[in-house]
């Protein structure tokens, strides 16, 4: 395998194109709609393949490279690296070298990055109304928790107050329902009113949205029966769109 020696010489010229200056060279590649519309600009930043899904996975706190890789089935290390760099360059996320016991590299959203949640929610809400939609695919724990936030019936929840613990595979979340809002954090609470344990995202989705009985899909729920019913009743998918 010697021949590679010669292969690298041509590399050089390929990247001169990038040297063209743009105010803040966002898309690593030639994207760039010549359009002042905010939507178009948003697409420059989040519209590349995978970008928005990466932001989604960071929505409940910083993650490491390998967390992201395993949460995004099919993404390659190369593309993930590129996207992280692009998002960082655009101020959506930051690379934090958290010196815990073992110094780990983390990627976390900036405040503005967290502000992208409504985009993710609107897109998800809209897509859920599509006639086609395969709910059997893998669903990351973050996706499921985000879907709960999206589908929450704020009005119906206004007078409920609950601390709910979720264990989804190895991921743990605490949802705190109060005043019609439901912030979600990573980790388990000291005391919870309800506890959901599930092997993965799809099983919980089946229980919450598909009316499947928990034991059929390996989900166990702890808590007062009435509260369980009241809680799960707060989340409903939108009706399918008409075929016109």
């Amino acid at each position: 395998m010697r021949l590679q020696i010669a292969t690298m010489k041509l590399q050089k010229e390929t990247d001169e194109r990038n040297s063209s200056e743009r105010p803040a060279d966002r898309g690593p590649h030639g994207r760039w709609y010549a359009d002042a519309c905010g939507t178009a600009f948003g697409l420059e930043i989040l519209g590349e393949r995978w970008s928005l899904l990466i932001v989604r996975e960071l929505m409940f706190g910083p993650r490491r490279f390998s967390d992201l890789r395993s949460a995004l089935p099919g993404i390659s290390a190369k593309v993930l690296t590129e996207r992280l760099a692009g998002l960082e360059a655009n101020g959506v996320l930051l690379r934090e070298t958290a010196p815990e016991p073992a110094p780990v590299q983390l990627y976390g959203l900036t405040r503005w990055g967290y502000d992208a949640e409504p985009i993710i929610q609107e897109l998800g809400r809209w897509a859920a109304a599509s006639p086609f939609h395969d709910p059997t695919l893998p669903l990351s724990p973050v996706s499921f928790m985000l879907s709960l936030r999206t589908m929450l019936d704020h009005r119906a929840a206004r007078d409920m107050q609950l601390v709910v613990a979720f264990t989804i595979g190895t991921a743990q979340f605490t949802a705190t329902l109060a005043g019609g809002e439901m912030p979600v954090e990573r980790g388990l609470p000291g005391a919870a009113d309800l506890r959901f344990d599930a092997p993965g995202g799809p099983s919980l989705a089946a229980v919450f949205y598909g009316g499947v009985r928990p034991e059929e899909v390996g989900v166990t729920i702890h808590g007062e029966a009435a509260r369980i019913a009241a809680f799960t009743g707060l989340f409903t998918l939108p009706p399918k769109a008409p075929q016109i």
Copy 2:
């Protein structure tokens, strides 16, 4: 780096995934996040380059091929054709052969397609808070009208009732403000409380969002001065996001 000899044998099995049939094989290319998340599914449909901007341009009613081409600087006929076909296959738009005097081909959103407006709005609102953003680029008339709907202060507008006519280049719109909402239609109203005439989208954006005086950018406004001020005051850009 020695032995790569054996590397290519495993290729085969990689593409079997694609052979699985999907209801309506959307992305002409291998897109397809293996992900049940609604957001990921939405990205399958709207996440390709140009797709969402095409939807945006159709937001106030059907348009023809050449309308779209000129509203989307840089798109090629081939790509536009492909995207229109993809969006049609996914139920976002329909191709209507309206037999007017001269039988013209029109593309119009389905009801579900129109439901995508909140996605466009959230993306635009979010992007407008970016530190980088070049407002000097071309802005299509539709983009501007959509931005008004996005930036409208619904609360402040609740008690206002106005019919406002816009002429932006050759495009004409009627905005009907009432009850804190402001639907927009193509065409001019019989009678208007206010009338804006502008050479293009950017000039109006300068007036509404940049505090520029109309005459500086070729915009003329007709109507009662107090009403003009009250109306234009309803629309404000979000504050820039902090740099963290």
